[in-house]
């Protein structure tokens, strides 16, 4: 984990307090430090009210710090003139697939962000074509969005952000409204983008399986970072997770159970294929010795 290159997103001492019209101010973030490096995949997990979504909205200047700072690619989100550049660099995908598509035709929706950037029409056209190709929706370009599946709608939203050529994609529970096929569709798309385009990903999620796919897991609780590390490190902290009312993914629990039952497994197994390979290896070793 070398820190030679400056982080793409740097959050330092971030406080955010919601000031409702009536009643007490609500502190949502209380001193968060976070770095997201270029091309890195960070999962943000935590219970309801932990401040995940508030933090996410700070990453592209939808919310501004009450105290502390958020620096995106060298731009301070509090700088009024930098807001549009920040929003171009950090794209956001929201939870409800229906509530983030603006236009009545897929390709028009994908063009929306580029039109806001004020690009020339020919440039927008070529970026829209490219973005639709990358998410694999060229064939549906003339469709109205309401006829698409949830996973397809989220891919349209991803294409719309992608056409703006961002450095980082923030997925704010973008898969929580989708069926398993849709979830896979969206996760495969963003992981491929990270691999092929070098996009950094911030996954805000309730799904521990998704968090297990990240390079780093950051657990928020009560507006501060409670745990942080590789998925293997974080999910090994069983007691700490339980105190935060979170659970390691079922595969991690299964691996732990198998290890307790005497199967010789390496530590840090996170996904079903990893566990299957390890179990197969253990089985072969067992037969070889017998």
């Amino acid at each position: 984990m070398s820190d030679l290159a400056p982080a793409l997103i740097r959050v330092r001492g971030l406080f955010h307090t919601y000031e409702p019209g009536a009643g007490e101010p609500v502190p949502a973030l209380r001193g968060v430090d976070l770095d997201v490096r270029r091309g890195e995949c960070v999962a943000l997990i935590g219970g309801n009210g932990s401040g995940k979504s508030t933090l996410a909205k700070h990453l592209n200047a939808l919310l501004l710090p009450t105290a502390g700072e958020v620096i995106v690619d060298g731009l301070d989100t509090r700088d009024r003139d930098a807001v549009w550049a920040v929003r171009q660099r950090v794209g956001m995908i929201f939870e409800h697939p229906d509530d983030q598509l603006i236009a009545a035709v897929v390709e028009e929706d994908v063009a929306f962000g580029c039109e806001n950037l004020g690009l020339p029409p020919a440039e927008i056209r070529s970026r829209v074509d490219e973005a639709l190709r990358i998410v694999g929706l060229e064939a549906l370009r003339r469709r109205p969005p309401h006829l698409l599946s949830g996973g397809q709608k989220q891919r349209v939203a991803i294409a719309g952000v992608l056409a703006m050529r961002p450095r980082c994609l923030v997925l704010d529970e973008a898969t929580s409204m989708l069926d398993p096929a849709g979830q896979r569709e969206v996760m495969e798309t963003v992981l491929r983008l990270r691999r092929d385009e070098g996009l950094a990903l911030v996954l805000i999620t309730h799904s521990m399986e998704e968090a297990a796919l990240a390079d780093r897991v950051v657990v928020l609780a009560g507006g501060t970072v409670a745990l942080s590390g590789t998925p293997a490190e974080v999910f090994a902290r069983d007691d700490a997770l339980r105190d935060l009312r979170l659970e390691a993914p079922p595969i991690v629990a299964l691996a732990r159970g198998l290890a307790a039952a005497g199967v010789a497994l390496p530590a840090g197994l996170l996904t079903a294929p990893q566990l299957a390979d390890a179990v197969a290896a253990a089985y072969r070793r067992g037969r070889g010795e017998a």
């Binding site: 549009w84 028009e108 927008i124």
Partner: protein, 276 residues
């Protein structure tokens, strides 16, 4: 609830035709022009010319006559009422065709009723041809460009177009939501289709309240999503699709002018101008 889907914006007939390819501005202005010409028509011959012209446009737009007539069906009863009113309450006097008690039908009133009724049909037909051949997205684009010059006098062209776009985008979504809420209420014993008119109106309240709450929640989420994608109003904004006026638009404009000239200019004047 499928009738809701059939009803909404099901007018556009996607096809490749010269009429479909016309600039939406041409079609919008052309339709307004035609509506004016229909209103100005005073003669049966004029109606015949306009009918032939609209039939020609329909054919060029690859719209089947049966389909076009079906699109006009909702206006037929309206036309029926208009004709009846004209016949029953029209001017007294003239050649009496039929008399029973206070009901008097004269030849003049019947002719006028049919004339005005047919004119009404043509009026609707002219606008229907446009909606058959122009998608809602194109219409919105066309309207925005047409209104753009009026921005200086305070017409919010971009905002109006954006409102239309969002409305078009969300009408089907809100219909789906209506369906879901109705089913949820029906599962709990609500009745939407029986009872007196007052009872049915009351039954709509538990439908409308969640629908409105949901719409406001969506509006909020959409505003956030638009902001996240760098939306900051119409300034600095460009569009992916540029509208371009092509030769066919000039041809259409020429045809429209010709129709107006034939229909509106009285024959005596024609003779004087063309001479002998």
């Amino acid at each position: 609830m499928n009738f809701l889907r059939g009803l909404m914006l099901g007018q556009y007939v996607p096809a490749e035709s010269p009429v479909h390819r016309l600039d939406p501005r041409t079609k919008l202005l052309g339709t307004m022009w035609l509506v004016g010409v229909v209103f100005g028509t005073r003669s049966l011959a004029g109606l015949a010319v306009l009918t032939a012209f609209l039939a020609g446009v329909l054919a060029a737009g690859r719209i089947g006559p049966a389909y076009a007539l079906r699109g006009l069906r909702p206006v037929f009863w309206l036309v029926g009422i208009a004709v009846v009113f004209q016949v029953v309450f029209g001017d007294s006097g003239g050649h009496v065709l039929f008399r029973r008690g206070p009901l008097v039908v004269t030849r003049e009133n019947l002719a006028a009723g049919v004339f005005y009724g047919y004119r009404l049909i043509l009026l609707v037909a002219a606008t229907t041809v446009m909606t058959f051949t122009t998608s809602s997205v194109e219409l919105t684009d066309g309207l925005e460009r047409l209104l753009r010059p009026f921005r200086r006098v305070g017409v919010p062209a971009h905002e109006l177009a954006l409102m239309m776009t969002i409305a078009l985008r969300f009408i089907p979504t809100l219909f789906e939501e209506t369906e879901t809420i109705m089913k949820a209420q029906m599962a709990r014993g609500a009745e939407f289709t029986r009872g007196s008119l007052a009872a049915r109106a009351r039954a709509l309240i538990p439908l409308l309240v969640p629908l409105f709450v949901g719409a406001f929640r969506r509006a909020d989420a959409l505003a956030l999503a638009m902001e996240a994608r760098g939306y900051r109003g119409g300034e600095h904004r460009t569009r992916m699709k540029e509208l371009r006026v092509a030769i066919r638009d000039y041809v259409a404009a020429g045809a429209l002018l010709l129709v107006a000239a034939v229909v509106l200019v009285p024959p005596s004047l024609w003779r004087a101008v063309v001479g002998r």
